[in-house]
Amino acid sequence: MDFDFSEEQRLLDETVRRLVKDEYDIVKRKSYIAAPEGFSRKLWARYAELGLLGLPFAESEGGFGGSAVETMIVMESFGRGLVVEPYLAAIVLGAGLVSLAGSAAQKRAILPQVASGKRLLAFAHGERQSRYALADVETTASREGGGWVLDGRKGVVLNGDSADTLIVSARSAGTSRERRGITMFLVDTKAKGVGIRGYPTVDGLRAAEVTLESVRVAGDAVLGEPDGAYPVIEHAVDRALAALCAEAVGIMETLNAVTLDYLKTRKQFGVPIGAFQALQHRMADMVVEHEQAKSMAMLAALSADLTDVAERRRVISAAKVQIGKSGRFVGQQSIQLHGGIGMTEEYLAGHYFKRLTMIEQSFGDTDHHLNRFAEVTLPAG
């Protein structure tokens, strides 16, 4: 049992920390967001140079063979700096799905391009009615000749408007919320019948509503086993959840640091406000919450690829519950302790708070994951 990084992991941690420290502050971030795609292509190229974009898939697939722990290291630093590049959407989810489900030919065609930063992927899965239920897929896929026709709508597709290739889930068999009968397809965003309406999200990122109207794809566009995509989707989303937990922990770290700094410098009644016990105790509780969240993010990273699926569900959902609760407390209290300045667009705390809040709304909120956790730990009799 140890919680130390290996030498390579320590180097990765240092590299990403330094990069984020050098390239990110709230003003620079604003300029990246102002770009047409909502992030910095220049930084994306830097990540590619540093090997970050190939991190989560095998060397034989053109990547660097990192585990979820490496992803955690990257995402925690990205959280510290509130990075806007689509690492979660394109790498953890997009490349993750190709790496988990793709054929040798698909991996060869796609993953090296992803690693070099030339191709962006996005995962078009959620729908208006599905909320957080991963099996609730109504977009349809019908066989036509040797290929398929896709019809339907996908909602809040992270970075869907900058992607070159969408990974679209669609129902090829079964009824609306059945786990069996879901198939994934690789769909070029420029293909006929694909409509993409991009928009900013409240936390400074980008997403898109995607429409698919009689979109024709070839037989080799199927990613993974026809009708059998659900277990792969669940696995990839569990990895994404572990990554989000790490990002949230980085965010909490920064929020706690700036709040503590504010308590030591802001003066009222002639003294730094950190001299007041009510605020000291609140800050102490924020520290406790960050530590608990960090523990669970580590556990999630160590469990994101467990072959025992029930155990993976148990740990990942527990982590998301903890991050949800801790994040809400740290986020809300950091604004409260800052007072008026915390409410402003100009100051950094609000931006971190917004991202932390949207992380809770991503891929299952606290209630959703408490339920998923309890289904493992307290199965209904």
Partner: protein, 398 residues
């Protein structure tokens, strides 16, 4: 980064587990698992077995009888003991007074007291809190006046756990009333049989009598019982309180209680179905289990950080805060699970040997008393408000 234990550590867990299985008396185990009243002899029977095995004070230096274990081994040991229903070793001798004597005591004290702490011949209690000195411990007023080769002790201690069956008490006493409050305190070892000591039990709201008031009226204590230097007692007390914090998360005991809670919630019925299947109750259990999972990892992270020989820092206040909250919530949910059968007050059912038919299920009698008794956890050992002060001052520099 990995969570698996080494082969040696796994073998060690196996060794501890089989020792407990082979040796823990069944009736003591039953008392612990069911929360029945524990007497001196219940604790000591297990204490002596651990002593014979060399495991009663594993954290002591090996030359004084410690086991030379790593922090991970200590955690495994505590975890196994808690889950198996072994009683805790009474901490006042092995965890509190012993390390102070080892670090600051004179040769006579080491030779006389340490073997008796280990063997269980001496059971200790802690004379710290006073009626006017709780969180502000350094304001204590029990005084010791030097007369020749003795001290004369007058005053009162309170909340003294185990004083009713202890042989010795380690006492903080004021030896210099003129000095600044922290600088006039000494650390004195007192035989509980000394004339002038009166112990009066304090019954807590759950009906149990674990704690006491201890009165000192003209008590004559040999000067050789002074630990270290006169008026340096506050330093020793702080050292002691630092030691008290290891194991403070009580993860093993809470895992055991969680298991019990789930069993009870599966057994109790609501609308013909197990209470554990009721979404509202199920979610409460699940939320608590998540907190406990996180605390277990936080605890392991701090244990791992101690491997370099570092002692537990102010970070252990995090463990106390979360650990106490979880223990209290567990007791709360067990009580809630009982519904109206939390109401019958069956004091006798908590005593060993009681074998009448219980009112309601056999686990009912303990539920409410435990809930009420567990409110102490966020008060003792530095209240949770004091723990937050420690985090704010020591960790955050506020």
């Amino acid at each position: 980064m990995q969570l698996a234990y080494t082969t040696e550590e796994q073998a060690f867990r196996e060794e501890v587990g089989s020792f407990i299985r082979d040796n823990l008396p069944a009736d003591v185990r039953d008392k612990v698992l069911n929360g029945k009243t524990m007497g001196r002899e219940d604790y000591l029977r297990w204490h002596r077995l651990l002593y014979e095995r060399g495991w009663v004070a594993p954290h002591w230096p090996v030359e004084h009888g410690g086991a030379g274990w790593t922090a991970v081994q200590r955690h495994i040991f505590e975890d196994e003991c808690a889950e198996a229903g072994a009683p805790p070793v009474i901490p006042f001798g092995t965890t509190m007074c012993g390390p102070v004597i080892i670090r600051f005591g004179n040769d006579w004290q080491k030779q006389y007291f340490l073997p008796k702490i280990l063997s269980g011949e001496h059971v200790w209690c802690q004379g710290f809190s006073e009626p006017g000195s709780g969180s502000d411990l350094a304001s204590l007023r029990t005084k010791a006046v030097r007369e020749g080769d003795h001290y004369i002790v007058d005053g009162q201690k309170t909340w003294t756990t185990s004083a009713h069956f202890a042989d010795w008490i380690f006492n903080l006493v004021r030896t210099d009333p003129a000095a600044k409050k922290q600088e006039g305190i000494s650390f004195l070892l007192i035989d509980m049989k000394t004339p002038g000591i009166t112990v009066r039990p304090i019954v807590t709201m759950d009906g149990s009598a674990e704690i006491n008031e201890v009165f000192f009226d003209n008590v004559k204590v040999p000067a050789k019982n002074l630990v270290g230097e006169e008026n340096k007692g506050w330093t020793y007390a702080k050292f002691l309180l630092g030691n008290e914090r290891t194991g403070i998360a009580r993860v093993g005991a809470s895992k055991r209680e969680l298991k019990k809670l789930k069993e009870i919630a599966s057994n109790e019925r609501e609308g013909g179905r197990p209470l554990a299947a009721s979404p509202r109750f199920r979610d409460k259990i699940a939320a608590l289990e998540v907190e406990l999972m996180a605390l277990e990892i936080t605890n392991l992270r701090m244990i791992a950080a101690m491997r370099g020989g570092k002692g537990p820092g102010p970070e252990s206040s995090i463990l106390k805060l979360k650990g106490s909250d979880i223990q209290q919530r567990l007791a709360e949910l067990v009580m809630e699970a009982l519904g109206p059968y939390a109401m019958p007050f069956q004091r006798e059912a908590m005593e060993a040997g009681w074998n009448e038919e219980p009112i309601g299920p056999d686990y009912a009698a303990f539920a409410a008393p435990h809930y009420f008794n567990n409110r102490k956890i966020s008060i003792y050992g530095g209240s949770n408000e004091i723990q937050r002060n420690v985090i704010a001052k020591m960790m955050l520099g506020l």
